[in-house]
Subunit: 277 residues, 2 copies
């Protein structure tokens, strides 16, 4: 295989559904010449309330499907699947490089505030594994981390109720305990520890105030992917802009409708191919 062929192989991305499209968007902005193939496991979403055993099984099936499509790197663009399955998939799929979104998200938080008091908004499964707490303290021992399961935020994002009184009331319900009381205990950064949450940034900002640092994994994940591709000599630098293939395990129409918001561009059901895992 020559260098050119190797470099045109696509970057594979998978998520439980459409939330990972926020990561895909950042990847395409940073790496406009790369080809991408995105797989959303919409037949079994959400992952965040399911057991670690089921999440690992689903993640493994999705990863193997993408591996068969000759990807050159795999991004697990779902915090829950990253928290549960990253290490297993890195080992099982080698030499294919595998990147999750938890470590990049932790890095973004520590860059935003050293020795900070971080509040992680995530799914039940991510919180129960303390994935962000471990990842942050591994690079900043003086940080303090609180992790909060926010399933209603997933529902808000999925339904597109991203602004307005109801969205803010739900955000306030979750955040209030971390914004009031003793100043020395209040959260200083909010980590959007679920790829659904970046589209709720305005509502979170409205509740948390202008001084709050709000970080997500998308940008730092794209940077990590770029660095890894570069160091492996797999970066595609041109000449034509990259292609995008969208796969889902169920519901092309809903994927297109909801996914357009996350990707930041309109999608039609014809843009989405259904596959069976």
């Amino acid at each position: 295989m020559n260098g050119k062929t190797k470099n045109t192989r696509p970057v594979g991305i998978f998520d439980s559904g459409v939330g990972g499209l926020t990561v895909l968007r950042a990847l395409r902005e940073r790496l406009p010449f790369e080809n991408f193939v995105y797989l959303g496991d919409t037949a079994r979403l959400p992952y965040g309330t399911k057991s670690a055993g089921s999440i690992l099984r689903y993640a493994r099936q999705a990863a193997r499907h993408l591996q068969q499509r000759d990807i050159k790197l795999l991004v697990i663009a779902c915090n829950t699947a990253s928290a549960v399955a990253l290490e297993e998939l890195q080992e099982e799929l080698q030499p294919l490089p595998v990147i999750g979104v938890v470590q990049p998200g932790a890095r973004a938080a520590v860059e935003a505030r050293r020795a900070g008091r971080h509040l992680v908004l995530a799914t039940e499964a991510t919180v129960s594994l303390r994935a962000y707490g471990d990842a942050i303290r591994a690079i900043d021992r003086e940080a303090s981390v609180q992790e909060l399961a926010c399933e209603m935020l997933v529902a808000l994002a999925e339904e597109g109720w991203t602004t307005g009184a109801i969205a803010e009331a739900i955000v306030r319900h979750y955040l209030q305990p971390f914004l009031s009381g003793d100043v020395s205990l209040r959260a200083e950064t909010i980590i959007l520890g679920c790829t659904h949450f970046p589209i709720l940034r305005d509502a979170i900002r409205a509740v948390a105030g202008d001084a709050m640092s709000i970080v997500d994994s998308a940008g730092t994940t794209a940077l990590a992917v770029e660095q890894l591709l570069h160091s492996a000599g797999l970066l595609r630098t041109g000449p034509d802009s990259g292609k995008l293939e969208l796969l889902a395990t169920d519901g092309a129409r809903r994927f297109a409708r909801v996914g357009g918001t996350f990707l930041g561009s309109n999608l039609s059901p014809d843009d989405v191919r259904l596959v069976d895992l």
Copy 2:
């Protein structure tokens, strides 16, 4: 097989998760001597936002699992699965009798108000099949039926946010267009067309007012099951009270925690056995 053995065989009930426990509760109240086996497909919930093809496949797997447990009757205690899969399962599983929750729910609505203006709150999949509209007009040609997809109500019920300002704001968001404007167009009955919704009854009542008829499928489904068992000579009438077996495809702990609210009694994870479909 003698009559006694036939009658002690359990009634099988399946749902995408825990919502169907509201139907199980009504069944146990009406039929205290029956044995029940309940299967919640928690590994793949929710069904309501998935495609008809996936829902049919999941429902078929759940039904076959229960059939292998020698059930004497199957209740599809999920409106979405009833809307999508009832006829197929009735045909495929014969001579096993199969009952869904949509027809009983339609009957409850028509009993509450003849020639009424009904508003059905349901999932996307149930609404897209117009399941309640067809079922109601089949027994009351003068009824008018509007069907509304309310995915945020599913999330509220799953998270246990069943009362309070946020629950009422979300309910109001959905109901407002059907409660205001020309009196001759306002809804006269609200049909809880998803087995998750009965636990939101107080919030719906608070928004819709005391004059609104609010109906669900649980009671009329239990009545239909009793009639069918009686006419088939399969009714168990004693002497000892019936047993209950709870099965789920994922997450016994979450099933117990969330399911207790729906069943109206405390559950422990040890009460739930995990099965693989």
